[in-house]
């Protein structure tokens, strides 16, 4: 959770006042047990809960990527995503750090490509729904994000020429490239091949939309006044949800259906990479974004709304800010924070409960205050967070990939 930082205390305490009836339509909708699931929600709580849906959202294309949504490009991108040959060593693929069975993350505190890195791999679920990619938002599209690890010597250590050669030499990839872009990989220059490969990967990643969760079932039951269905949501999770939208003020940053406002915050976690070296977080991300030859303002971007990139403001407070992560699948993506410094979800809840205000920037916003949660409240919050994963785990079901002809 990453509520920002305004010192206005626990503004939503009033929401926790019990006994506010949600409305006669709801009360009439189910039996006594069902009613209990709904009638203790105030209108404000109900409205706050409804704002976290519906799910899934309408599909979103990768920004500035003309082949996003096209089946041929999605198939090419999927094949490339799992292909270790994109790294000259043949040993590192996108899927090495973004493992489908691990919610497209890798459960490492700091991920490792050819070398160990400074941050952990964020989950790729629902990443097309994000305005910014990466912990520092250094990329403004999925395809431009894909280029960085391809070229970074610590990650895949590839080159544009290496990508072009692979696309041209492998018959299956060459066929998929031709179907996706209407030309031969052997006939384009290396930069074009690199960008095209990245756009195909972006098209694939844009298809990764996570499944519905127990929370979504509760939220939709609430929306239609179905007390009986709402009663299936565990009582502990419901108490945790009320904390989340109420006293915890978590929904301030973890907003909307993705449980993230898509922006960045300093939540008081240390950001030393190693003694004497700091991770600049969003500040470095904005600098890298604006310097990138592959951003939405670049000649490589297909028609796209570049408004956020054009107007993003570099500010001193961006130092030490990191992406507010989506909480969908949060129980499947330990360890937590940009460098995995919090090993369990329980550690995260405890972080907000015992927050060290001294670590927060003095000139920053002051939403964050220690929540001082009891052990029972911490357990409730955890119960709620676990309902943000689909039942049955984090599996990705891959449809068969037909051979390209």
């Amino acid at each position: 959770m990453t509520p920002g930082r305004v010192r206005r205390g626990c503004a939503a305490l009033a929401l926790l006042a019990a006994g506010v009836v949600a409305g006669p339509a709801l009360a009439a909708a189910g039996g006594a047990a069902g009613r209990a699931a709904l009638v203790d929600l105030s209108p404000d709580e109900r409205a706050a809960i409804l704002r976290h849906g519906p799910w899934p959202p309408p599909p979103v294309a990768d920004a500035g990527n003309a082949v996003s949504g096209r089946p041929a490009a999605i198939a090419l991108g999927r094949q490339l995503f799992f292909d270790g040959r994109l790294s000259p060593t043949g040993a590192v693929a996108c899927a090495s750090c973004h493992v489908p069975g691990l919610a497209f993350a890798d459960r490492r505190a700091r991920s490792a490509g050819l070398q160990e890195l400074d941050r952990n791999a964020p989950s790729l679920w629902n990443s097309a729904q994000q305005r910014w990619q990466g912990w520092d938002g250094a990329a403004d599209s999925l395809w431009s994000q894909a280029i960085r690890p391809l070229l970074d010597p610590r990650e895949m250590g590839g080159s544009a020429e290496h990508v072009r050669s692979l696309l041209a030499a492998d018959a299956e990839l060459a066929c998929r490239y031709r179907r996706s872009f209407g030309r031969e990989a052997s006939e384009v220059d290396a930069q074009t091949a690199l960008v095209d490969a990245a756009k195909a990967i972006g098209a694939f990643v844009a298809t990764l939309v996570s499944a519905r969760t127990p929370f979504d079932e509760f939220r939709d039951a609430l929306a239609r006044g179905d007390a009986r269905a709402a009663a299936r949501y565990p009582a502990a999770a419901r108490r945790g949800l009320r904390l989340f939208v109420g006293r915890g003020n978590c929904a301030l940053c973890h907003a909307g259906a993705r449980f993230s406002n898509g922006e960045f915050a300093d939540i008081g976690v240390p950001f030393f990479v190693r003694p004497g070296v700091v991770d600049p977080g969003r500040h470095g991300g904005i600098e890298a974004l604006l310097a990138s030859p592959y951003n939405r303002l670049s000649r490589w971007a297909d028609a796209a709304d570049a408004t956020p990139t054009r107007h993003v403001a570099l500010q001193p407070r961006n130092f030490g800010e990191f992406k507010v992560p989506s909480l969908r699948h949060v129980a499947d993506t330990a360890p937590y924070m940009h460098d995995g410094q919090l090993r369990t979800l329980q550690n995260v809840v405890r972080h907000y409960s015992d927050l060290d205000e001294e670590r927060l920037h003095a000139d920053g916003e002051r939403v964050l205050v220690p929540l001082r949660l009891s052990a029972a409240e911490q357990a409730d919050l955890l119960a709620f967070l676990r309902t943000l994963s689909p039942q049955g785990g984090a599996a990705w079901r891959a449809p068969p990939l037909a051979r390209c002809r």
């Binding site: 930082r5 305004v6 403001a313």
Partner: protein, 144 residues
């Protein structure tokens, strides 16, 4: 003074201008109301110190977490320059984006690049350069 057409009744407040423009006040009174009306649609306006700024958001109602365009009209005096910004005073931070304003002539302007990334009380800030002076008008909004 704040007027709204097509907006829900929400608390709004205009802060005083930095410099008085006394003689223009009567003209501004006449322009108030007309200024928002000329924009059409669900426009709001703020007035003070002889100036009126009317604005409307595209899309409307003002969304969270999405880029917003403001169509603006300055009435009462010609504006040599207009700057638009927004902040959350209680949070002690502004937007993460820096809007630009284009002067379309005849008192009309368009501001691009605003993005309200958090629910709560926001303050829209209009800085108007007119006749060698700078005036600030503000409008407050509660976004959910």
């Amino acid at each position: 003074m704040t007027r709204a057409a097509g907006w829900p009744p929400i608390g709004a407040r205009v802060l005083a201008g930095l410099l008085a423009l006394g003689p223009a006040a009567a003209a501004a009174q006449a322009a108030a109301g007309d200024c928002a009306q000329a924009l059409g649609g669900p426009a709001r306006e703020v007035a003070g110190e002889g100036l009126v700024v009317a604005w409307r958001a595209v899309p409307h109602p003002l969304p969270l977490d999405r880029p917003v365009v403001l169509e603006l009209r300055v009435c009462g005096r010609p504006a040599d320059a207009l700057r638009v910004d927004a902040d959350m005073p209680a949070h002690r931070h502004g937007m993460n984006y820096r809007p630009t304003v284009e002067n379309l002539g005849n008192g009309r302007h368009v501001a691009r690049g605003l993005l309200f990334h958090m629910a709560g009380r926001w303050r829209l800030i209009f800085d108007i350069d007119t006749g060698g002076r700078r005036l600030r008008l503000t409008d407050e909004l509660e976004l959910r």
